[in-house]
Symmetry: C2
Subunit: 591 residues, 2 copies
């Protein structure tokens, strides 16, 4: 049976038939209403009509298309409306907000599905000859704006990699697997599991993202504390560029000059197309446990994480919620049975007796993976550290609830969008000594920026992905939309939080990529000369600038471009001259 | 008191007053004589006379030197004969053989000792203005030819970094330290130890190499299994290039496009000068133990190493000698006392009873580091694995002997050079499934190449630096010199072993760098496009090619250049037209 590529719904996250079910989480909407000061319930149920989308007329280079037809099957090319809309954007707020308002300025003119590295080479050759831009596309789950076309005036083809999905070779003796780049998370794990192996890479987007996308954006899985970030897992790779192939050897470590792999990892499609990678894999763990803990305050939880580093007993995953994120988690839980309600109130009494202040309490989920013996031993050591930091064990139930819904969180964003609430996330990383200053400083900046737009902020934070020197710090925020100024409102908030990361010495993004969202700050992050060097590499590997143009190269007017791109209602905003908010307001008045 | 930079002796490894003491290792010379079929003992004791060295006249650009004098103290510049000779080469066979024959074609014209990043910037600016080439120099311990001047026709300055030796900042909460690049290993550890910290990087060259050199060449310390290779330890760095400064942020991990750090790590001085780095550091381990084990054969030891990876209990160091390297280690041991001699023969009896074939037995040294509890636990688990693979414990004595002499091995090479024996090492890495084929194949190639030159080969190998996917494989070889053709003989052997690495899918070098020695194979290793991209980066960061010219950029005639460079008797070999072997033969006849 032929493999049918599966796309996410164009108007939101996940499969078309999957969405957030408020009745399964009855506490959530009341919590959100209170937190966001929402006073109404009369939200219209939307019907998503593909035909209502204002899709730019496709730029059609007949010679390019007929060249493609000479070596691709008819099913490997499409300019179908739905395909173009799906490939227009990733899944950021900016992306979904525009699509849901019928705006698809980012859409490519054509989608091509290569089946082999040879297909990729030939498509690139044709693109160079006809000056067609190529945007590599994996699962389309990126939320930093890596997938939107940034320029007009020439044809753009989205190179959808999902038909290159085979695990080509598993070397169980060496714990390596050679894998095509377009494979999705679950498909990849199923193929590896057949050999008793796992990659150990489970990002929140796991169900809907691909190996090539992970590598091109420096993704992090939930268990990165144990298995590493994706860049730590790549043993060798191949990248097809307009100038030929970059390929490295399958060797564990080397001293062969600068590490060429790192010219490909994180390149966000702008130098070439990653076609395959040889990855470190692991025997599947005998046991996995995800107990929950409650800490009396955020700082105590952070101290516990750091102490695990110091004592060299880092679990596979630690995920510490701040008090607001803890409250959100509690509100998100499925309804309790009678018995567990009684147990719940007894537990609350116990917490009070231990002088826990519930509004300051922080949930910590911790995953242990390995042999029975190793998991048991590590749990004892970690729990001893946690206890010294004042924690209370919540047992396995918190973890079970997390495990059951860990890939579902992005659905909440769609649900809130349906209720005229903007939510987004901005994540960074910093060293241990800077986590609390960064957290406090950014929270202040974030809440101020939201309040300035005249609405009540909801903000939360969790710490995850710990390393020897620090951790990822992940902010989630939400607020009622300012009718008629939604995009402007969003941009101001997003700008404030990213600027705070830079001002506090943290990084632009820990695992979401630069894309368009973080581009204006790139020189702050890697120095002007760093940006200049990326441009030099780009010119060398892609002299005619066909590969995902505009990426990793901020212009002189980066902030202006940043705003303009978000407000573009048509490819080349000058064509229409209207900002997204204007257009949305106009449509609203006509409704 | 002013810090006085300490140089190694120009004619060999280590301090001027340190050398291999054969009477402390009475078994060594008899072993070497037998193994290498040496029949004489009438070797002349050499007196090393600096004045006998044929030092090329210094190329002196007066404007450049007076510019340097305008911002450097007089003590920061030298064109002294000894300084020039010391900075002419690293410590490879090619380097020492030539110096010992009075040939210093690689010598710079001047040595400058910057004290600050500002000094480095100003020196580079002056170099660009006057078209002077700059070769960064750390401890001078490199053995791959990273330090020799490759071109003539303009002035060359050696930029000796050792006065930039301060640990600038230790963040004990974040386990990071910001460190100037020119600090030597022992000096660095002393400064970190004062904060209770260690870098955990102990390469064989530890006493005589610098942080900047480690980063520029992708060094590996003996305990890399636990602490990582140097590239895994760099949190942030600064590199001064002719176009300005590349600088990255002090953050644990990021998704900020391609990782700019990796444009600096491994750049071998050809893009710029690494001036400082923020490194991951660790609390000093409570306990360190280095027990020894004997395995019945090489494959069993490899299997034990791999099983430690599979069971996720990798020690801090594992070092498995093949049978010949084991015999060498035994011959190298200090003389036994009467009691231990008796114990030794009892032990031999025990081994025979366990059906150990002594000529096939392999010594494995294993280091454990951490808390008392963790070391004890890990030792039990590792020993259980080792036992299942047939090992016999040698207790702590083998480890103690290793610990006592671990930095002394390079002295043996000098001793053997004194006895007209060429020795060298070539090391690589490969995946677990390829270690035995690589080992067998390379051993055959190596022995054949030596035998072809008409002498008896000594070859040995050890496996160290284990990773999830494989390990480093380290070959040591020695042979009697073919009088009158020493360099030619060496080059043929070296070429054969490097070609074997490439043919067997392994890497050019695991931690010794590309330099001049491995340059001809660079495109085999990282693809032609990889080399082309390095050239593009070089052009961007160093448009006038002042930084360590010729590095990481093989020419069209890379193999010819490789031979010519080794045979160069004067900067620009055409000046003299004699090969090293010719010149050496001529001198020998005049002696």
């Amino acid at each position: 049976m032929a493999y049918t590529p599966r796309h996410m719904k164009w108007w939101g996250w996940g499969d078309e038939d999957a969405e957030f079910n408020p009745s399964a989480h009855p506490g959530f909407w009341p919590y959100a209403k209170e937190a966001l000061e929402i006073e109404r319930d009369d939200f219209r149920v939307r019907e998503w009509n593909l035909e209502s989308i204002e899709l730019p007329e496709a730029f059609h280079d007949e010679k390019f298309v007929s060249r493609l037809r000479s070596f691709l099957d008819p099913g490997q090319i499409s300019d179908d409306r739905k395909e173009r809309v799906i490939h227009a954007y990733g899944k950021g707020f900016r992306d979904l907000f525009r699509l849901r308002r019928g705006l698809a300025a980012g859409a490519p003119d054509l989608v091509a599905y290569p089946k082999s590295e040879r297909d990729v080479c030939l498509i690139l050759r044709a693109a160079i000859e006809r000056d067609v831009a190529v945007i590599p596309f994996g699962g389309g789950s990126n939320i930093s704006g890596c997938l939107e076309r940034m320029e007009t005036g020439r044809m753009v083809v989205s190179l959808d990699m999902r038909r290159m999905r085979r695990v080509l070779e598993v070397d169980t003796r060496s714990f390596t697997a050679r894998i095509e780049a377009g494979v999705f998370g679950p498909d990849l794990e199923a193929q590896l599991n057949a050999h008793g192996m796992t990659l150990g890479h489970f990002p929140d987007s796991f169900l809907h993202s691909t190996l090539g996308g992970w590598i091109a954006t420096r993704s992090a899985g939930m268990q990165s504390d144990k298995y590493g970030k994706i860049e730590d897992m790549v043993v060798a790779l191949r990248m097809v560029t307009p100038e030929g192939e970059l390929a490295t050897r399958t060797v564990p470590k080397s001293s062969n000059g600068i590490d060429i792999k790192h010219l490909c990892i994180g390149s966000e499609g702008t130098f070439g197309v990653i076609t395959e990678a040889t990855m470190r894999v692991h025997t599947r763990p005998q046991r996995r446990a995800v107990p929950g803990y409650l800490f009396p305050e955020f700082e105590a939880g952070i101290e516990a994480m750091r102490e695990c580093v110091r004592q060299e007993c880092m679990p596979a995953m630690v995920r510490l919620n701040d008090p607001d994120k803890t409250a959100l988690s509690m509100a998100f839980r499925p309804p309790s049975s009678g018995v567990s309600k009684i147990a719940g109130s007894l537990f609350k009494g116990y917490l009070r007796a231990r002088r826990f202040s519930l509004p300051r309490a922080c949930l910590m989920l911790t995953a242990f993976e390995g042999s029975e013996a190793a998991v048991g031993r590590q749990m004892r050591q970690v729990q001893s550290i946690y206890r010294k930091c004042g924690s209370v064990s919540l047992g396995a139930s918190a973890g079970k609830s997390f495990e059951a819904s860990k890939y579902d969180f992005p659905h909440i964003r769609d649900f809130l969008l349906d209720h005229d609430v903007t939510t987004d996330v901005s994540e960074t990383s910093t060293v241990w000594s800077n986590i609390v200053p960064l957290y406090n400083g950014t929270m202040t900046v974030l809440r101020d920026a939201i309040e300035k737009s005249g609405v009540c902020p909801w903000t939360g934070c969790h710490i995850s992905h710990t390393y020897q020197s620090g951790a990822s710090v992940y902010f989630t925020f939400g607020f009622r939309q300012h009718a008629g100024g939604e995009m402007d409102q969003y941009l101001k908030v997003k700008k404030a939080v990213q600027q705070s990361f830079i001002d506090h010495g943290a990084t632009l993004s820990h695992h979401h990529a630069v894309g368009t969202e973080h581009l204006p700050w790139l020189a702050d992050e890697i120095s002007s000369l760093g940006v200049q060097t990326i441009t030099a590499i780009k010119r060398s590997l892609d002299p005619t600038n066909v590969m995902n143009p505009g990426r990793l190269q901020p212009s002189q007017n980066a902030f202006e471009d940043w705003t303009n791109l978000a407000n573009r209602t048509y490819p080349g905003s000058a064509v229409r001259g209207l900002r997204v908010d204007d257009l949305v307001a106009r449509r609203r008045n006509h409704e």
